[in-house]
Symmetry: C2
């Protein structure tokens, strides 16, 4: 029997996390399925940032570094992120951008590898890793004399043999929503004498992560996606305590110094994670991020990440089921794995070009088959225009281009369990159905590309 | 004849820039002489940031990257800084911290030097340069096989001979307020086959700077001091167009890519200064900085940097004169040069220990003699406690410790011509006089050290 709107409403009534959406501003007429790109606004953020501006900056001025606690914000916010990623207080700092932090930890990882495994000269990553991670790795590899080896997911384990020094992966893939098994891959890397660096941009606050349990070596993550820290919110960095004091990272600025206000001419790194700081941090943006993190404190009383994960899977399961039931015959394929263990908190659909659409039955093709479905990169898949048509209806997801070869164009939908409901999923699919059935997406205004993020 | 309060008031009446202070929130009961550490709050910032939070982030969400112009903020703000530093639009971006930006430009400078002057293996800087600059240089020099040579100001020119590859200086010294001759030193560096990297942290918005006229090679600067961008506001970076396309900097993140939203796995640097971007920037903090920059737009109609410089010198001249007239016999020395061409926008005083105070006459000793005056680093100079006593009275300057050798403890007072008046200077000196004459600074609460910035 097909799922109904009333079924979805019943799920909302039974949702133990339903009250959490009251912590956020959710614009009227919008179903927001892009929290994996920019999280929504926590209700407390505007007042908190106003307080920082008017009372702290405006009135206390320079004194606020001490009186308002600005100086320790990177550590204080890091302590609030720690329980979301299986770290403990004192192991995480919030600072800089994800790209800059990746540069720091990959540099440190290469320094360790050069000492512990000097013959190994390869950094292994996934070809469809988020590009900035690959760009950072490309530069560091060239500088340090390493090879950057990019493989498909099934090529990761084989690549660890040989001269792999560092395995650098994003835990949940930004394009496909596929989640790696962090513990198994880290163990495999260690067994091969290789370090494991994890990017948690699409994981922190979205899926359970246990860095210490996995014995990971380094991790970075993003403040503005599932942590709801606001546009360009600073990122975070974690280093396994076994490495934290061993190397200094190359961005050896004063905030990472053991005694920054002694103004000594020589660099002496602070103990522990503090040495992964560099320069002065943007306090207004840190203050907003703290409001996002505090919602996770409220979520803790309702079951924390385990409850959020259960709801996330229920939301993405529902979305897949509704698309299968209601949007067949339009060339959609499922890119995100059905297996819960392999799924992040988003669902990605591919789309083949209209005339070549395969005759789909009542279910989306399995994930193994879908990359052949799209007519990638030729601009004719319609995926871009469908996303634009949905946005015009207030259903905000995003488009990610294929590569013209293995990877098809993608319609990407993020499901943030903190603020999305099951009825939202129903309406999102209803809009998708209408956009497809009416060919609304073929209107010229939905086919004009401009910068997208 | 001694200067009077009425003289100061008359200067305010005749001040053509007087109206500019109306652009700022100035707390009651405070005379703020620390704008060289954290600038004051522009009146427009709270409303602008609230708009970014509530309307752009809250309502437009991910769409705001395009609709609200977030994506081009680094360039838009850079274009507003350009005229303050003798650059042209398109040559400056606002991003990251000063330390991170210094890492980028020093890396690029070393890459150029390695190609153009491969035998030269020394980076020259000033021993009393701001420490984070030295820390960044220390790390890069170690990594690239360079020597970091730290000299006193009079040792800079001699050090350019031999194997100097890069001269890296802060234009206005954070401790002394002494200003280097950028054009002359850059010319000397170039004549010796050496590149010139300038840190404008205490210059941009405070003193005239003409990077292109000086033919400087690289520059970085700070957003939260004289530019009034708010706590930890992002910094800026300028690269001489002759170098901009030549090298990529090592923090090769997606925002510096030629086509970041094509998500290609290989890095292709953007043309020009955009390649000095790395990751996503903190939009709330950028928005506040733009409010600070816009005041310089208003100042342009009143004479711009030339008028601001004239007022800055009048303020610092008045402060020196009033201290000489009213605060003698307390062991104060003048650290900042009297010569206008060598002075930034701050005045630094040293202080010798009480019982050893030299019998000063009606004028402070000349700058050449003062470093011997303090009893540096022994915690007994009283400089720290005097600054604390002044802060308790609402006169906010700051303390910078000596090094126990050549450099004495310092009382540092910044004079921001945008919002300080001449009567403010009178009252600041009156408070200093009272603190010294009553020995108020010897009270225990002013001698307990805590973190200061």
């Amino acid at each position: 029997m097909s799922t109904t709107l009333n079924d979805c409403r019943a799920l909302d009534v039974g949702d133990p996390l339903r009250s959490l959406r009251d912590h956020f501003v959710l614009p009227d007429g919008v179903i927001y399925l892009d929290g994996n790109s920019l999280g929504v606004l926590p209700k407390t953020a505007a007042a908190r940032v106003a307080e920082v501006i008017n009372r702290e900056w405006g009135q206390q001025l320079i004194r606020a570094w001490n009186s308002a606690g600005w100086f320790h914000l990177p550590q204080r916010l890091g302590d609030k992120i720690a329980p979301l990623v299986g770290a403990v207080a004192g192991e995480v700092v919030v600072t800089d951008s994800t790209s800059v932090n990746l540069y720091k930890v990959l540099s440190a990882a290469l320094a360790i590898a050069a000492e512990d495994a000097p013959g190994k000269k390869t950094v292994v990553s996934e070809r469809s890793n988020f590009p900035t991670d690959l760009y950072i790795a490309e530069g560091l590899c060239r500088e340090r004399g390493y090879q950057l080896l990019l493989v498909e997911p099934d090529g990761i384990l084989p690549a660890l043999n040989g001269d792999a020094a560092v395995l650098m992966l994003t835990h949940v893939n930004y394009r496909t929503g596929a989640q790696h098994d962090m513990a198994a891959l880290t163990a495999a890397a260690h067994a091969a004498g290789c370090l494991a660096v994890w990017d948690l941009a699409h994981s922190a606050g979205a899926v359970p992560v246990d860095l210490n349990d996995a014995s990971a070596d380094f991790a970075v993550g993003c403040g503005y996606k599932y942590l709801n820290g606001g546009p360009g919110a600073p990122a975070f960095v974690w280093v396994n305590p076994r490495h934290a004091d061993r190397f200094q990272q190359p961005l050896s600025g004063w905030w990472g110094h053991a005694a920054p206000f002694e103004f000594t001419p020589g660099y002496q790194p602070a103990p522990g994670i503090t040495r992964y700081l560099c320069g002065t941090q943007p306090i207004l943006s840190l203050a907003a991020l703290e409001c996002g993190l505090d919602v996770f404190g409220a979520a803790q009383a309702l079951g924390g990440m385990a409850a959020l994960r259960a709801k996330s899977l229920a939301l993405t399961d529902l979305f897949i089921r509704l698309v299968e039931e209601r949007c067949t015959g339009h060339g959609l394929g499922l890119v995100t794995p059905r297996d819960h263990a392999q799924r992040g908190s988003q669902v990605c659909l591919s789309r083949s070009s209209g005339p070549h659409a395969p005759p789909l039955g009542g279910s989306l093709p399995p994930e193994g088959a879908v990359t052949a479905l799209g007519r990638p990169g030729d601009g004719e898949s319609g995926a871009y225009a469908i996303v634009q048509a949905l946005i015009a209806r207030g259903v905000i997801g995003d488009f990610r281009a294929g590569d013209g070869a293995k990877h098809s164009d993608i319609l990407r939908f993020g499901f943030t369990p903190l603020y999305l409901g099951f009825e939202d999923v129903w309406h999102a699919v209803e809009h998708l159905k209408q956009v497809l059935e009416t060919a609304e997406w073929q209107r010229p205004e939905f086919n004009q590309k401009h910068a997208v993020t």
